[in-house]
């Protein structure tokens, strides 16, 4: 029998806010920037422009909210996969704040950005493990696998400016879906039977 605690809705709302706030501020930055072209210029260029203040605010706020929202995953349920996912997302969120606080010329900025990517991918992998373990949440597991395959495909299909955007959108969609699922009652193996 698998027992799960409920009541992580507050954390899920923080996660939802993290992804949506980051995305809205990134869109604002793109709208405000006159020279930045989608699919041609890097996100880094946008961050260094005058409109970069919106993007950096979104990165910092998103990172803080993501880190706090992940606390719910760490302590809610006592499942190893979910705990690992929460810890990795928390680290990812903290490092995301570093990306905003350190200037792009600083080595810490680049190192933090790479580590955000690595921890986020690992969080997705542990999420797949947790979802498929004991047939817990097949639909969301399939969704995560789908997003990962599409992201890998984007790497080969597009140049860096475009696949960067695909990855960001995939990450935002995944975080929103993950936390929206957290708001609802998770289907357990007991309920499926």
């Amino acid at each position: 029998m698998i027992s799960e605690k409920k009541g992580g809705a507050a954390f899920a709302i923080l996660g939802l806010m993290a992804a949506s706030l980051f995305f809205v501020l990134m869109i604002l930055a793109i709208a405000d920037s006159s020279g930045w072209v989608l699919g041609e210029d890097l996100i880094r260029t946008l961050a260094e422009s005058d409109s970069g203040v919106y993007l950096n605010s979104g990165i910092a706020l998103g990172g803080i909210l993501l880190a706090f929202g992940s606390i719910g995953m760490v302590f809610n349920g006592g499942r190893h996969g979910k705990t690992a996912e929460g810890v990795l997302l928390m680290i990812s969120g903290i490092l995301f704040v570093w990306v905003a606080f350190f200037e792009p010329e600083n080595l810490v900025h680049d190192a933090a950005a790479i580590l955000v990517f690595i921890t986020f991918v690992l969080a997705m992998v542990t999420s797949i493990y947790d979802d498929f373990m004991d047939n817990r949440s097949m639909m969301f597991g399939a969704f995560t696998v789908f997003l990962m395959i599409v992201s890998i495909g984007a790497y080969f299909a597009y140049d860096v400016a475009m696949y960067q955007m695909v990855w960001i959108i995939a990450a935002v969609v995944w975080i929103i879906a993950r936390n929206a699922k957290g708001l609802m009652n998770e289907p357990t193996i007991n309920k499926r039977k």
Partner: protein
């Protein structure tokens, strides 16, 4: 002999249809003037995954429930990725993506899961 639920039979059917459409898409991607075999290869890769997925809904099919759902997501993701790469026509890609999503829904269905865990001959 076990009775296959209707939804499982539909999963098998959609898998085969998806494979056949991917084969057609791969053949239509053949461009002798450019001598590129990669596009056809990627199209056939999608076909192989869809056929394998269809086979998993057979009475003697392989894989646990989790693997069937994983394969459904893999087939859908690969179809979309190969379309993004430009190996197959966009319309074929859209049709395959829709079939893939139907396959995910069928594979993740609790009735399919129950059949795989209890009634299917092999796991």
């Amino acid at each position: 002999m076990t009775v296959r639920p209707m939804i499982v039979k539909a999963g098998f059917g959609f898998g085969i249809i998806g494979g056949l459409i991917a084969v057609i898409a791969a053949i239509m991607a053949f461009a002798p003037e450019s001598m590129t075999a990669a596009n056809m290869g990627l199209g056939f890769l999608v076909a192989v995954i869809f056929f394998a997925l269809g086979g998993m809904f057979m009475t003697n099919g392989p894989g646990s429930w989790g693997i069937v759902v994983f394969m459904a997501a893999l087939a859908t993701g690969t179809a979309v990725a190969v379309t993004m790469y430009g190996s197959i026509d966009v319309w074929f890609g859209i049709i395959l993506a829709v079939i893939g999503i139907i396959e995910i829904v069928i594979a993740a269905n609790s009735q399919t899961g129950r059949w795989i865990r209890t009634d299917r001959l092999t796991n």
